[in-house]
């Protein structure tokens, strides 16, 4: 969708190129992250794509067409543009801000009305409350949502985003990122996304382009950057805790043990107790006939109990979903001091079990250095 060929930018009066002969190919529907430390040329590179920065040499093609052949305002109107400082026009209402590009393109009022409502609903800001607010009446997170919404107003296939979540506190940023990914899943836009935050890059990116001093150092999926860093620089940039960051990429599904041992609520306590002692189990999962999770029983409570297991069953306080990423699952396990957590799918059925040992081994699979960090987080494994 977007092709960059030997793109170079030399600012007048400067000897060193700000962007140095970058080749890049961004597939349709991908989020491509441009990342690097400040001054590496990532923003300049992005701004060249809608000609906010003149290109010194090289070619940029969007959808097969050179951007130099297009009228510059038409080009910019066809590309969504969102920036870190948001840049909402303070003298305009939310409605007028979102309608900026539709106005420029001369949409009729009815179409604009519908589009604004649709977009506000999409980012979960009720139109009736927010339509006629002014930017100064919005919180940071709300303003940022409107900023992104404004960039999407005409449903452009390509969007340029310069640290769109940069100015937001970490908690809200996470929320916005998740929201954005959910929207992107549906809309499948081609997005160029500038950030300096490696966590954000790994989380958001389909592809990551790491830049240093104007040059493209490595271009690949987050997985590739983490597991096969091309050189020392990439390794240092993604950080010593690469393995931990990989947890962001993996889902619970990838690490969980499927079909864990469990018993049924109707089972007699004595049999189960015997079985547990035999297998040296301190507790056991309980499910009903349809594999719906009921909870667990522990050894002490079963001892001396007569009757069915379901009478002594304790509810599971914490479960994870198979689609959750491993980092969230692990942090839950750590904060509740659990050695094991049950993955439950949306229907309440047991999907699998995640324990810290399997988790470590999954993450370590492609991690070629000695796993020194892991001793710290491996809790006493209580494996069924």
């Amino acid at each position: 969708m977007i092709e960059l060929e030997r793109v170079t930018k030399i600012y007048p009066g400067s000897e060193v190129p700000a962007v140095d002969s970058v080749n890049l190919n961004i597939a349709e529907g991908d989020i491509c992250i441009l990342i690097g430390s400040s001054g590496c040329g990532k923003t300049t590179l992005m701004r060249m794509m809608n000609r906010l920065e003149p290109i010194t040499s090289g070619f940029i093609r969007i959808g097969g067409e050179s951007i130099m052949d297009k009228d510059v305002t038409a080009l910019r109107r066809s590309i969504g543009y969102a920036i870190q400082q948001i840049g909402l026009f303070p003298h305009m209402t939310v409605y007028d801000n979102i309608a900026t590009v539709p106005h420029l393109l001369g949409w009729d009022k009815k179409r604009i009305d519908e589009r604004v409502d649709e977009l506000l609903n999409m980012v979960q800001l009720p139109p009736d409350i927010f339509r006629f607010r002014y930017p100064r009446e919005l919180s940071g997170g709300q303003a940022q949502r409107i900023g992104v919404t404004r960039a999407m107003a005409t449903d452009p296939p390509v969007m340029l985003m310069d640290e769109p979540f940069g100015a937001i506190d970490p908690i809200n940023r996470e929320v916005l990122q998740d929201e954005f990914l959910k929207i992107q899943e549906k809309l499948k836009k081609t997005i160029v996304f500038v950030t300096h935050d490696i966590h954000e890059a790994i989380k958001m990116g389909d592809k990551i382009a790491l830049l240093d001093a104007g040059q493209l150092v490595q271009y690949g999926t987050p997985e590739e950057l983490l597991t096969q860093p091309k050189n020392r620089f990439v390794k240092d940039f993604v950080g010593a805790d690469r393995a931990l960051k990989r947890l962001n990429l993996l889902k619970v599904r990838d690490a969980m043990l499927t079909n864990p041992t469990h018993c049924h609520g109707e089972d007699p306590s004595e049999t189960i107790l015997e079985h547990m002692i035999e297998n040296e189990l301190s507790y056991l999962l309980v499910a009903d006939r349809e594999d719906n999770l009921k909870g667990y029983v522990n050894l002490e409570e079963l001892q001396g109990h007569h009757g069915n297991v379901r009478d002594v069953v304790r509810p599971m306080t914490l479960t994870v979903k198979p689609e959750q990423n491993l980092k969230d699952a692990l942090s839950k396990m750590l904060s509740y001091d659990l050695g094991i957590v049950v993955a439950m799918d949306d229907d309440g059925k047991i999907a699998g079990v995640l324990n810290s040992r399997t988790l470590v081994s999954v993450v370590g699979e492609t991690y070629d250095e000695r796993g020194g960090h892991w001793g710290r987080i491996t809790t006493k494994g209580r494996i069924i």
């Binding site: 906010l52 400082q85 100064r136 340029l160």
Partner: protein, 245 residues
Amino acid sequence: MSENKEAGTAGRVWMSIGFIFAFAAGAYAEYLGFFTFVKENPEEIWELFLDHCQLVGIASSIAILIGVPMGIFLTRGFMRRYRDMILNILGICQTVPSIAVIAIAMTYVGIGKTPAIIALVIYGLLPIIRNTVAGLANVSSVLLDAGSGMGMTPGQLLFRVEIPNAMYIILTGIRTSVVIGVGTAALSFLVGGGGMGDLIFTGIALVDPGYMMAGAVPTAGLAVFLNWIFGCIEKWIVSPGLVYE
């Protein structure tokens, strides 16, 4: 709520003080023969008042029509580097006393309304240009980046983003210019331009306070009134999204 109430009480106190002063001033004016004079010569005063308004109106309109575009021009592209220089020159011009400006204008175009208007225009330009430049320079570059990034042409950027955001400061400049103009226009009597200066200067020459006040009071009233009008215009034109505290 309680704060509001307090503000209300304070307001009433100031109001009553104001009324007492107004009453005292009125009584004193009557003592000086102001009202008697007004009662005897209403037509003459009205004519001179209209004259005065006309001077201010024409001069201010011209000053606005020249000043605002000039301010815009000074913030565009290549002119930006001359901006400070031009503002300095205009600042120096402003230090020339208004009466001198009127005198200089007279030496070129003779007597009558023309030199008065020319002088008033020159005198009124600076606040307008200065505030237009300051207002436009004050618009955050982020907004300009966002605007041009979304495909606004420079003209659209100017009219849809820059001017609306600079409007408050521009209007303040115009207000200052007009209010100063009302006072300065009194001097135009000296070059035969008419206006309330006629009454004021004649009053001074005759040592007739009533005569003089018949010119001075409406002039002051006009300035206060116009100031208020511009306050209303500001509220009406400037977007409620922009709040200046």
